[in-house]
């Protein structure tokens, strides 16, 4: 894996993408963002609130990070496509985190609508980063229609349940020709480290940071975990084995039997 993250020809020093949902204030978001080292942040589009005092764009512009709009809240390909087109107008970017949700209790992706929307948006010139299930076959279908990355969940959005099926992610990473970015389920730093150890190119994290007791400290913890996981991946873990294998030499072990010892 190279030293930098490359998506659609753009390079990023940071392999942590910050989701901005859930922070209790823009000020807290700004502090956590600085600590996270993230160079790209998600935003959503919602109806204008005439009473809003500040815009999240001010925070992101001041930090100099790339805006990655999402299509959160869309349940059909049609709505996701319109939302992506609106985001392109609002933010002057053709990058889109494509979410097409199938069910508002699990927030799991609707695979059929997702592939349909991805194909249309790629044809319309978008750089499509789809939020997907951890299904390697679906990931391949998304790659086939031209997505610039695939972003599987480890577990449902905001659940903090970590990576429930590391074997699927391993298969996905092994077969993917585009970056695999873990996009949901991180609960704490070790989950992010595991994602990188499994070969993900990056981690997208919102709730684990924004809803932590101390979001700024968690932003730092997850930044370091992503770096640690990447280092460990490169260093190569030892194989798992059922029984122990001594690390201390077994030759030259002294014998402490006295004259009275039996045998």
């Amino acid at each position: 894996m190279s030293d930098v993250l490359k998506i659609a020809g753009r390079t990023f020093e940071s392999r942590l993408i910050l989701g901005t949902g859930g922070f209790t204030s823009h000020e807290l978001l700004a502090r956590a963002l600085a600590e996270s080292g993230a160079e790209m942040c998600t935003v959503a589009l919602r109806r204008l609130d005439p009473g809003a005092r500040s815009s999240i764009l001010d925070v992101l512009d001041a930090a100099g990070v790339q805006v990655l709009p999402n299509t959160a809240g869309c349940f059909t390909a049609r709505d996701a496509i319109i939302t992506a087109q609106l985001a392109r107008e609002a933010f002057a970017t053709d990058w889109i985190k494509l979410e097409v949700i199938g069910d508002d209790r699990t927030l799991l992706p609707d695979a059929v609508e997702l592939v349909d929307a991805a194909e249309t948006l790629v044809d319309d010139g978008f750089v499509v980063l789809p939020y997907t299930t951890d299904d390697p076959v679906l990931a391949r279908r998304l790659e086939d229609v031209g997505c610039a990355a695939v972003m599987p969940l480890g577990s449902p959005i905001g659940s903090g349940m970590g990576i429930r099926n590391p074997y699927n992610l391993t298969i996905m990473v092994e077969r993917a020709g585009v970056p695999v970015v873990l996009d949901a389920g991180v609960g704490t730093a070790s989950d992010a480290a595991l994602a990188m150890e499994l070969g993900c190119e990056a981690v997208l994290c919102a709730s684990a940071i924004s809803r932590a007791h101390d979001p700024v400290a968690m932003a730092r913890a997850i930044r370091l975990a992503v770096q640690s996981g990447l280092l460990a991946r490169g260093a190569g873990r030892i194989p798992r084995r059922l029984h122990a294998q001594a690390s201390t030499p077994e030759e030259g072990i002294p014998v402490f039997d006295g004259p009275d010892a039996a045998g």
């Binding site: 859930g22 204008l48 809003a52 815009s55 764009l57 805006v67 985190k97």
Partner: protein, 71 residues
Amino acid sequence: MSSTVVTVNGEPRELDAGATVADLVALLAATPDGRGVAVAVDGEVVPRGAWQDTELVRGAQIEVLVAVQGG
């Protein structure tokens, strides 16, 4: 001056007759250039370049969207 009634983000709103998307954005948005703002009329995206020339007719269903935290 005559006026027209449209729906903006689900609420009825009276605008001057002949008002354009650009006029509505200037009225509502904090940023004069409309950065971070997107507009759909009757389910169709209105590109930024067409705001000045898109008049809002009686009964139009308008969505005016901005960036919020998310995802």
